[in-house]
Structures are given as C-alpha cells and as structure tokens.
C-alpha cells in the first residue's frame, strides 16, 4: 500500500511540473477582501427575487433523483449482464453539465433538460450501488422463504427489508448530491440557484452571492428535518406537477438531433453551403475530421485533464490525512472536534464548481483554482469519513501519549486501507470534475466542449463528450484494478 501511495505521489509531482498554476489577476487580495466582506454582510432581501430559482433547484433535484431511482432499480435487477454494466458505467461517466449540453439542442434550455441531465447519470450510479447492496446483503433470511413463492414476494419479504436501511441512506445522500448538481446547472443557464449566483459573482455583488450560498447551506442542513420517507411521494408528486407546466419535448428536434446535428461536419458541409441541408455520405473524410479534432483540441484536453486529476487525487488524500485528526476524538478535544466536523461538512456541501468559480474570480483561470476547488470538496468528504472510521477504533489504555506517535502507530495503520479505497473510489469523480471545470477557462476537456457548444458544433461536442466518457471509464477500471490488487475495500457505500 505504501509503495502504491508513493508511486501516485511521484506521478502527482511530475504532473505539478507540467501544470499551469499561475495567478493572473492583478489584485487577487482586494477581490478576496471584498468577497470576505460579502460573507459578513449577506443581502438576505435579495433572496426574495430568487425564490423561483430556489424552488426550481429543489424541484429539479426531486424529479431527477426520482427518475434516476426508478431507472436505477430497473437496471440493478439486470446488472449481472455485462452490456448493462458497461452501459451504466458509460452514462455515469458523463457529468451532469455535459448531459445538459447534450439535451440542450434536443429539448432546449429548460426544466426537461435539467431533470434529464440529473436523472440519466444518477440512474447509472443508482444501478451500480443498488446492485452492490443487494449482492452484499445477508442471504440467510432468504433461506427461510419458500422457494416456490413468486419472485416479487420473495424479494419484498426476503431481500428488501435487509437492504432497506442502506438503500434509504444512500438515496438520501444522493439527493443531497442532486441538489448540488441542480444548483450548478444554473451556471450554464438553467433556471436554478447557480444562475443567480453566476450573475451575482460576475457583477461583483458578493453580498447577494453569499445570501444565496447561505440559503443553499440551510437547504442542505435542513434535509434531516423535511426529507422523511413518508413525505417523499408527496414531494415527487408536487414536483412533477410544478414541472409539467414547463415540459416541452418537440419530436422534430429529437429526430433532427440524431439524424442531422450529430453527423460529422464533412457529411453536412456541402448541404450547408448550398443551403439545402442535404447529407452527403463522404465516409473517407470522417477519420480526417476526427483526427483534426484530436490533434487540435482533444489531446491537449485529455493531457490537461489527466494532469489536473493526478494532482488533485494526491492533494485530496493529503488534505484528508491532515484534516481528519482535528475531527477525531483520539486527537483533539470535544470543542475542536465539533468545529472541525462542521467545517468539513460546510466545505463538502459547497459544490466544487462554485468553489472553482469563486477561486477563478480571485486568481484568474489556471489550474490553481481548479486544484484547490476539487481538492477541498473531495478532501473534506474523505476527511469526514476517515475521522468517523478513526472514531470507531477503541484505543488501549496504554496507547502512546504523544499525538504524533498515536497517529502514526495506532490510528493511521488501522484506517489507511479504507482511506485508500475511498480515495480510489473518488478517482473517477475527481476526473469528471477536472474535465468539467474546463468550462471556467482551464484547458481541460470541458473547455473544448464548451467552445464547441458556443460555436454550435454539436458533432464535435458529442465526439469530445464521448472521449471524456471513455477516459473516465478507463480510470474507473484502473481504480478497480488497483483496489483489487491492494485488497482494500470500503464497506460503506456512501462514498461514490
């Protein structure tokens, strides 16, 4: 485990040499002080003007999660088939914002786009996690169920009760993620919280921006009080009713997307030039088209995405290892524990996209803000989980007194395997985020995808998103390979 860790650290150091980490803004610290001032003077009345965006944030998350759960359950039952597993890996390898880019030309920039952008990748995630929960569930109770019972009864009596708690817990955690996804979809123009947040930041209205952020924290922190199993169906019904007013699906757009928009440019070029929009089947020029995109944009994007991912992966680990002792009962007193606990929760609650957006405003677009944004968000999640695991360790009475000894000899060896498993679980998440942050002007794959969207080059968008997805699936299987080789696993499933 130590050797593997050191190899990854070495890779990250090389990546650091290749990365562009400069601060390009002229007065980063003035901007920071204005931002800090906004934090203590939030413009609460401004929230009233954003009430529909707040509502939309919740409605998109509810509908997106619900559809994701329904599709995910269906897929989980056939997850043992390899094509299904690949399909799920593929749909979850594409970030919500990229899905929104794909749905944009099909359904337009509206609620349908937002809900589908959440539902599709979440279906892939739910399918995988539900299938894992079922697989790892206790089979003993099923022995007592008569074999001749119908499949549904067998499942409902023999399996469902044993997996219910885990499933409920995970789905709840995912709903929190969906609120984050829903919020950041506003940054690309959907009518959620992110839309107003982006405007406020762009115009330097930091007090308003902070009011929106505080509202978001309160929304997440209050989940425990209003997200009750018995109320879920009510929320789902209400959300779909609200949504149904704005649903628009134009069949001709869908047809156009699949039969025209996504065709490689050479096939459409002549038709566009002579105004007939006819399609010419010039197969031989397609490889040239793909090759050009790769040489001019994709390789650079892939390279930068990988460099950023590897730096952040190690950075996340370091942050977690340094931060967890503060939240762990074996190292610090009750008050520090509490404060650190909440600090980690607040950092992890802030969507990485928003963190990156803020940091780009302060430092200008380079990898530096991206590194810190993804690192803080993931590091906080990992630090929180690791401190919880470390709290479960009961130390012997005569354990070393000095904290550093205790850390290195008693706690770290016990939690390191699980820590590493969690970190590798997040590898693909980190890569997905590295790619997406390109939208903010960092030259990862998202940058080129966003430019192609601006130029209305759907064919290029699709090719680049496919590339991103395949890269992500590659990282996912490398991660699985490493975890299997190191024989590390995490029993808790709330990590992915």
């Amino acid at each position: 485990m130590l050797r593997t860790s050191l190899i990854f650290v070495a890779i990250a150091l090389i990546a650091l040499l290749l990365a562009d980490l400069e601060i390009s803004t002229l007065h980063p610290w003035t901007e920071l002080s204005r931002l800090a001032w906004g934090a203590i003077t939030p413009d609460v009345p401004a929230l009233w003007g954003c009430k529909s965006a707040l509502l939309n944030t919740v409605v998109f998350a509810v509908c997106g999660t619900f559809l994701g759960v329904v599709l995910g359950i269906g897929l989980a039952f056939v997850f043992r088939f390899r094509p299904v597993r690949l399909f799920c890996a593929f749909i979850r390898a594409i970030h919500e914002i990229f899905w929104a880019f794909i749905f944009l030309p099909i359904v337009g920039l509206n609620s349908t786009c937002g809900v589908l952008a959440i539902a599709i990748p979440y279906a892939g995630i739910f399918a995988k996690v539900y299938a894992e929960i079922i697989q790892e569930s206790d089979r003993g109770p099923l022995e007592g169920v008569p074999r001749a019972s119908d499949r549904l009864s067998r499942f409902v009596y023999g399996v469902l009760p044993t997996i219910y708690a885990d499933t409920k817990h995970y789905t709840g955690y995912r709903f929190e993620c969906a609120l984050r996804s829903s919020a950041i979809l506003g940054f690309i123009g959907l009518p959620t919280l992110g839309f107003h947040l982006e405007t406020a930041f762009r115009e330097g209205l930091y007090s308003e921006a902070w009011a929106l952020l505080y509202a978001f924290y309160i929304l997440i922190a209050s989940l425990n009080y209003w997200l009750k199993p018995r109320l879920v169906l009510l929320y789902v019904a209400a959300s779909f009713v609200l949504l149904s007013k704005t649903i628009t699906v134009l069949w001709e757009n869908i047809v156009r997307f699949f039969t025209y928009d996504i065709l490689p440019w050479p096939m459409r070029r002549e038709g566009v030039h002579d105004g007939t929009n006819a399609v010419s089947y010039v197969w031989e020029s397609i490889p040239i088209w793909a090759h050009e995109i790769f040489v001019q944009e994709a390789w650079e994007g892939i390279g930068n995405t990988v460099v950023l991912t590897q730096i952040v992966l190690v950075g996340t680990g370091v942050f977690a290892l340094l931060s967890f002792p503060f939240a762990c009962r074996h190292f610090s007193g009750k008050i520090i524990n509490r404060i650190s606990h909440y600090a980690l929760i607040v950092i992890r609650t802030t969507p990485e996209y928003i963190l990156a957006y803020i940091l780009v405003q302060l430092w200008g677009p380079s990898m530096l803000p991206a590194v810190w944004a993804i690192l803080l968000h993931n590091g906080a999640i990992l630090g929180f989980l690791t401190s919880n695991n470390a709290d479960l360790v009961s130390l012997r009475v005569d354990a070393p007194q000095r904290r550093i000894d205790r850390y290195l000899y008693e706690i770290l060896p016990r939690v390191y395997g699980q820590f590493l498993a969690f970190l590798f679980y997040r590898w693909e998440v980190i890569m997905r985020e590295s790619a997406i942050l390109g939208i903010l002007g960092i030259y990862t794959l998202g940058f080129y995808i966003e430019s192609a969207i601006s130029d209305d080059q759907i064919d290029k968008v699709v090719l680049l998103i496919l590339t991103t997805a395949i890269l992500n699936m590659g990282i996912d299987s490398v991660s699985q390979f490493v975890r299997r080789r190191l024989k590390i696993s995490t029993k808790l499933v709330t990590s992915s």
Partner: protein, 228 residues
C-alpha cells in the same frame, strides 16, 4: 399419535455428500415412512444438518423446515417472519397488502401459534430485537404456520429456555404427520421420537426404535465429545 404407515417418503440409497475436501455423509442408506417421528442424534459435525438438507432436497414439494440459524429477516416483525412460511400459497397482491397492513386471517392464525409458544405479546416486535431463544421460537412458528405434512427441524430447541423446550418440541411433533428432527440433546429424542438415528462422522451408527436405544450406544456415539 400415528405411527409408521409403511409408505416410504424418504429413501436414500448409499448416499454420499462431500463439501470440497471433507466428506459430510458416507454411504447413507435410510428409509423414512409417512407418519414416522424420527430424531437424528450425534455429536457436532456428525452430519445431521447435511442429512436433513439431503432429505429436504430429495422430496418433491417443500416441507416445513426449521433452520439451525433461524434464517429470519431481522428487520421484519415476528408476524411477518412467520407469514413468510406461506408466501407461496398466496397471490403476490395479497402478500404485498399483508406487508403494509397485516391481514386479519393471517394475523389470527399466527397469533394463535405464537400464543402456544408463549410469545403472543411479541407479535409485532422486530425479529432482530428478540433474544436468541425467542428468534428460534419464531423460526419454529414459521414452520408450523407453513403446515406441510412433512416437517424437518435442525436443532429447533438449541437456544430455547429449558423450561419451554418441552412445549416447543411437543408442538413440532404434533403439527406434522411426518417429522424428522435433529437434536443435540438426547433426552428430548428419547422422550419425543419413536425412532432414533445415531450419526457419527457422516455414518449411521444405529437406527432403532427409541425404546431400544441403550445408554451404552449413546456413550459410544458421543465418545470424546467435550461435555459442557
């Protein structure tokens, strides 16, 4: 009490069962007729559970079965766990309905069985929250509720309090036409069974009417076994 009818229900002919490297059953030849009440006795690891399993697999239909480790769903109530015994007799819709709201007929029958076992006040307690002995009685109740003519039970009173074990054994013996029960405690076998099969190291040591089993045979059967 009905006795053997001469109609064979189970018949094993030189049956052997092996798990990976260890042989669990060696050359077992055994016939059990309809109406018999048989006890399988022998030290731990003699192959009693494997023999019960083999008997279970050898007949068509699914006899009532009391599992050694209960196989209860810890998150469901005692009532629902017992209801599981008849899951295959009712349509899916009724099963689903009963999960949400216990149906009156099922409830009456199950409370009656729980009453006989001295547990009717635990009807809606979660199985996982019950003591080991109580869980075992729920497992017995599930087999009784299933109500097949054949009942197989694997050490069904191993965790039940001594003062209740007799009642539980009696219920098991009365509630099916043919009963095969494995027992670690010989005194119950002598008291409740008509026929005793002694197993050791996967082989049948004796197969006799309960009255003909002598103390010497039992001592021999359990030799070297650590006594508590």
């Amino acid at each position: 009490m009905k006795s053997s009818t001469g109609i064979p229900l189970f018949s094993l002919d030189a049956e052997s069962v092996a798990y990976q490297d260890t042989v669990a059953l060696k050359n077992i030849t055994l016939q059990i007729d309809r109406g018999e009440k048989v006890a399988l006795v022998g030290p731990s690891g003699a192959g009693k559970s494997t023999l019960l399993r083999t008997l279970y697999e050898s007949v068509a239909g699914q006899p009532s079965f009391v599992h050694q480790h209960y196989s209860l769903v810890p998150q469901l109530s005692a009532f629902h766990n017992i209801y599981i015994g008849r899951l295959d007799r009712y349509p899916t819709t009724y099963n689903l309905l009963n999960l949400i709201k216990p149906q009156r007929k099922a409830l009456q029958e199950i409370v009656h069985i729980l009453h006989l076992l001295g547990m009717d006040e635990k009807t809606f307690d979660k199985a996982g929250a019950l003591s080991g002995g109580q869980q075992q009685r729920v497992a017995v109740a599930r087999a009784i509720y299933r109500g097949e003519d054949i009942l197989l039970a694997d050490e069904p009173v191993s965790s039940v309090d001594p003062h209740q074990a007799g009642t539980v054994m009696e219920l098991i013996m009365q509630n099916a036409e043919t009963v095969v029960v494995s027992l670690h405690a010989v005194e119950f076998a002598l008291k409740f069974a008509q026929r005793m099969v002694g197993l050791r190291d996967g082989e049948v040591q004796f197969d006799l009417p309960a009255g003909e089993v002598t103390q010497m045979m039992l001592t021999e059967l359990y030799r070297n076994e650590k006594t508590l």
